[in-house]
Amino acid sequence: MQSNSIVSAYAPPFKIVTKYFVAAIIDFVILNFLLMINYKDIAGFYFQPRTLAITHMLTLGWISMTIFGAMFQLVPVVLEVKLFSEKLAEAQFWIFTIGVIGLVTGFWNFDTGMHLNGSAILINISVFIFAVNMIGTFLNVKKWNITGWYLIAALIYLIITAIAGLLLSYNLWHPYIKTDPFKYLKLHAYVAVIGWVTLIVMGVSYKLIPMFTLSHGYSMKSSKWAFWFVNTGLIGINLFFHFKNNAGYIIISILFIVVGIVFYLYQIYLIYKNRLRKKSDVGIKYSMFSFYVLASVTIMGLAGSIFNTNTIPNFHILFGYLVFVGYLSMLIVGQMYKIVPFLAWYHKFSSKVGVEPVPMLKDMFNEKQALANYYLMTASVIIATFSFLFESSFMLLFAFSLMFLGSLIFAYNIAAILRK
């Protein structure tokens, strides 16, 4: 039978996963440094070279990089299959990394010719490799679960996002979009943030949060409603964006997405309520903070699509900041504080359990330091929110400095865990 090879193949590819994580964390530290020294350029209109560069450092270099690494680790465990190819994962890493560096420097210098477009092509190639790797893995899945549905949908939106991004970058080189290119920029952003990133976050958190909080005995119905509502909304947005006088349809689509996110948050609440482990460690604290921010940005997004929010200073930039930093980055940092110690422990010590004394999981890092890290980062998010609203660039500098400091501590902690 299939026995030996299959079983050992479930062992997660530690080296590849850490490679992605380390690259993501380096990117996170650099981007926080850049935010800090360029704080004056951040407030204001969002279509600026530096804002675009930093946004893509966030979405590609940090968020997507982490997701890729996490997928190679989680998909085999969650769907009980072997990863299709570790070599593809390795190749994807290098092509993607070069593509991201190229894209970010391309935006920074607003070098919108070959430089930006070549990088966009590299990113598309790496996304394509990722898709092949995932589809190859999915084909062997015997038992599908709700997380699997989310992953498939997210993969489709990732491909749409990448292609749309390439088309937009080509438009900066040789303008060909006759109507309003910002319309397509919005589409690209919606599909990226909701379709790709949030669907992954949702699907994965249905597995990870109960694993960490030891929750059980709750209904998973809401997770299915969330899936259908968010996807219906996304399909609506993708369709109606191409029509004129579409405002009403877009609002309805956004409403669907909002309802889907409410279902998701309700599902998380159910999982959290049924937890056995009442003590919240730093990873769970980060995650809960992130879910509160998600609830806030959902309300903001809904308000922004119905009312005229131009009177609120920095509304769009604040919205983007909260989505990428308050919601997604805090969630990633929190999950990394859970996953990385476990991965490192599993890789280095699990074979020695019962043979010689091994460190416990809680000995892998200093929880107090991580907790200080949590307060530093969340304080930064809250201060930054007020600085945007009150247009105080000095306060913004303070907030970004806190986050930079926080990212350094975070990077130091993760490096210490990996070096154990």
Binding site: V7, M211, S350
Partner: protein, 272 residues
């Protein structure tokens, strides 16, 4: 505090006074006063299974036991929720409408063996081995042998219970659907595990432990496991990441899904 996974033997060794609680609950437990039977049976049965044998609610029994040692249970909630579903799984195996062909029945009354103070398990397993594929073993006993269902279920035997007065008649028959239905092994190398080859079964319950505690507990336990002992792990999910580590140490496993939150994994040393 007393949990449902505690073996009766340990319970009685630690809190001798609880024997009266048990006898109050069901007169079946009078047998436990016989030291030989206590040795044979009590080591194999935990409180949950004992509750099943006596046909009483496990939580009820637990609270009585805990009260008798002046200890208030605080974790029973967690245990309860799982119980409900576990029972549902067992019922499913029991309730199916299998027609007993009386010509194929091999009868085995274990009551004299038990009254004689002996342990019938090995004889039962030997009987099962002798059966042809379409033959049915009819086991006659004075109580329901709940742990046996798991052991024989793993060999592909379903069971059907009839109760006449104080006598339980349990039919064990080969059921190929047992491998396709829910209570079936979901995993890979179950080819050559035969639980009857193992004299002892060690059980651990890692439900309610946070990763990687379940893995640590399993790996620590198997490092002390001898060749004649099988380890039965009660787990709240399928431990995919444990498997490579078992492989590494020359152990094989097979996993039975009871429901989404309850998996039983049998781990044994590989042969040769």
């Amino acid at each position: 505090m007393i949990t449902k996974d505690l073996k009766i033997s340990k319970l009685l060794a630690q809190y001798p006074q609880t024997i009266n609680v048990l006898i109050n609950v069901s007169s079946h437990f009078k047998k436990l006063k016989n030291p030989i039977l206590r040795k044979a049976l009590a080591g194999r049965v935990n409180i949950e299974q004992a509750a099943g044998i006596a046909n009483v609610d496990v939580n009820n029994l637990l609270s009585k036991l805990n009260n008798s040692i002046n200890n208030i249970p605080d974790e029973t909630n967690f245990v309860n929720k799982i119980d409900v579903k576990t029972d549902a799984g067992d019922d499913k195996m029991q309730r199916n409408s299998f027609e007993i062909d009386q010509n194929k029945v091999v009868q085995f009354d274990v009551r004299p063996i038990i009254s004689g103070g002996n342990d019938p398990l090995k004889l039962i397993l030997a009987k099962i081995k002798e059966l042809n594929n379409d033959e049915i073993l009819l086991l006659i006993n004075s109580f329901e042998p709940i742990p046996l269902y798991t052991v024989l279920g793993r060999q592909g035997y379903a069971h059907k219970v009839e109760k006449e007065d104080d006598v339980f008649k349990i039919y064990f028959y080969k059921d190929s659907t047992l491998n396709a239905a829910e209570g079936k092994p979901v995993t890979h190398n179950n080819d050559d595990i035969n639980i009857a080859d193992f004299e002892n079964i060690t059980e651990i319950d890692v439900r309610g432990l946070e990763p990687p505690e379940p893995m640590i507990k399993v790996l620590e336990t198997i490092s002390n496991l001898d060749n004649n002992t099988a380890l039965l792990v009660h787990h709240h999910r399928e431990p995919m990441m444990l498997y490579p580590k078992l492989e590494e140490r020359g152990f094989q496993h097979f996993c039975t899904k009871i429901n989404d939150e309850y998996f039983k994994i049998v781990i044994v040393k590989k042969k040769g």
